[in-house]
């Protein structure tokens, strides 16, 4: 398809790889974090690590919305779905996520709960309108890309005076998670996190623009290159990061100029600001409580806030002790450093957050890179 295939040309990828090899300084290492789960998926799927020299290592960040959703919130959604007369609408990705007892929304559905898989938030509104005698809740998750669509339906619901519709809001924010990774106390405990630069998210940046990253570049002296989702975009971004690191520069560059403006989508941002406000703290699976990292529905839209309507309380549920996700998400360890990776913990039976969706670091690694031998030279942790 146009604007997809051209950005996947293997011959050009290899040529950019040649440039990276020529320009990367063999005496230094380049630890580059791609924040976004979409990049993690693309990097694994297209075998990008195989095209890179051993001293360039990709670290997979926490940018997979399903993976970072705490299990307590899945429990909440299952409880909601089981309420009499309830229709719970959700994106397909969350259906299979198991709770500690092995329950999931999919199993709840099989047991009779009315769980509807939707493609768009608009579908949830329609379901509510078509079922006026029942209650519909939209289980909203995701980063800045899915937040504007949720804001749109909350406003629509208010305009339509829909009394049987509300949203269980779980939207989280990219910039706060990046700063948490760079400065949380856990990072100090886990050891030196060695991130030399960031590949900035593609579609999150379409919405928020390139400006929010300027803080990281300045404050932490880390270069950021915003990249599109296709393999050539990622390769080019790596080359741009290598060049910045070599030159001792730390600025925000934009490789994804075909879709990312400095200010992002102003329209979408103002809609979000109208409907949502910051939560003081929100738990991220694998990262723990992250201050000011999530959104809640403003009081003026309280009628459409499922959390208030159904007085939802979220228990904090820790992952299995063996799980290394916390260290993996901060770039200190890698999936294969986890003792139960690929044995006890698999995509069919995920024990930790990174195995939950195909965009998670462990799942992507399991699916595409399981058999690849480890680069001795790239091994950061002893």
């Amino acid at each position: 398809m146009k604007y997809i295939d051209e950005f996947r040309a293997g011959n050009i990828a290899r040529k950019i790889a040649g440039k990276i090899l020529a320009e990367a300084d063999s005496r230094r290492r380049y630890h580059l974090m791609e924040f976004c789960g979409g990049h993690t998926h693309a990097i694994s799927r297209f075998g990008i690590p195989d095209l890179l020299p051993g001293n360039i290592r990709m670290i997979h960040g926490p940018g997979c919305p399903v993976c970072v959703l705490p299990i307590g919130r899945i429990e909440n959604a299952i409880q909601l779905a089981k309420m009499p007369g309830m229709i719970l609408c959700c994106y397909g990705d969350v259906l299979r996520v198991p709770t500690l007892s092995g329950m999931s929304l999919l199993k709840a559905k099989a047991q009779g709960a009315d769980v509807r898989l939707i493609y768009s938030s608009t579908d949830a509104i329609n379901i509510a309108r078509q079922n006026p005698h029942r209650t519909a809740v939209f289980f909203a998750i995701g980063f800045e890309t899915t937040t504007p669509p949720t804001a749109v339906v909350i406003k629509q619901a208010q305009q339509l005076g829909l009394v049987n519709f509300s949203v269980f809001c779980n939207h989280v924010l990219t910039p706060s998670a990046i700063s948490h990774i760079l400065q949380s106390p856990e990072v100090r405990e886990l050891g030196l996190v060695s991130i030399d630069g960031f590949i900035g998210p593609a579609h999150v940046s379409v919405v928020i623009g390139s400006q929010p990253y300027e803080y990281f570049a300045e404050e932490f002296q880390k270069p950021v290159v915003i990249a599109g989702f296709e393999p050539l975009d990622v390769m080019q971004a790596i080359l741009m990061l290598v060049r910045q690191i070599n030159a001792g520069r730390a600025v925000v560059e934009n490789e994804f100029t075909r879709a990312v403006m400095p200010a992002g989508n102003v329209n979408a941002k103002s809609l979000v600001a109208d409907v949502f406000e910051l939560r003081r703290s929100f738990e991220w699976r694998g990262l723990g409580a992250v201050p000011y990292s999530a959104l809640k529905i403003k009081a003026c839209y309280a009628d459409f806030d499922a959390e208030r309507r159904f007085e939802i309380f979220t228990p904090s549920i820790a992952d299995n002790k063996a799980c290394e996700c916390g260290a993996i998400l901060r770039g200190v360890k890698r999936p294969q450093d986890c003792k139960i990776f690929g044995t006890v913990c698999t995509p069919e039976n995920p024990i930790g957050s990174c195995m939950v969706s195909s965009e998670g670091a462990c799942a992507a690694y399991y699916r595409y890179g399981r058999l690849r031998p480890r680069h001795a030279a790239a091994s950061g942790s002893a």
């Binding site: 398809m1 950005f7 329609n126 879709a259």
Partner: protein
Amino acid sequence: MTILNYVIISASENLLKTPMCLAIPVRVAQLISEDRAMVDLGGVRKEISLVLVEDVKPGDYVIVHVGFALQKLDQQEAERTLAMFAAVAGDISADMD
């Protein structure tokens, strides 16, 4: 009022298997109303919302995510990026203009 005549089009299996985080550029085939359009997704037709974007015309490419266009794709910039790849690859023949 435009949402009143919105009809749920059951998404193809394939679409539902795409991780929700992924958004893709698609061609706008036809405008249905002020803020809804039909897009062409590699042969599959799908209705999307245009409320988050402005001035979209048939033939434009938009980045679509969970049924909403998030941005219009700047075709000139796309060509410029491709030209940059070609330049990096040292392939003069692919130079644009």
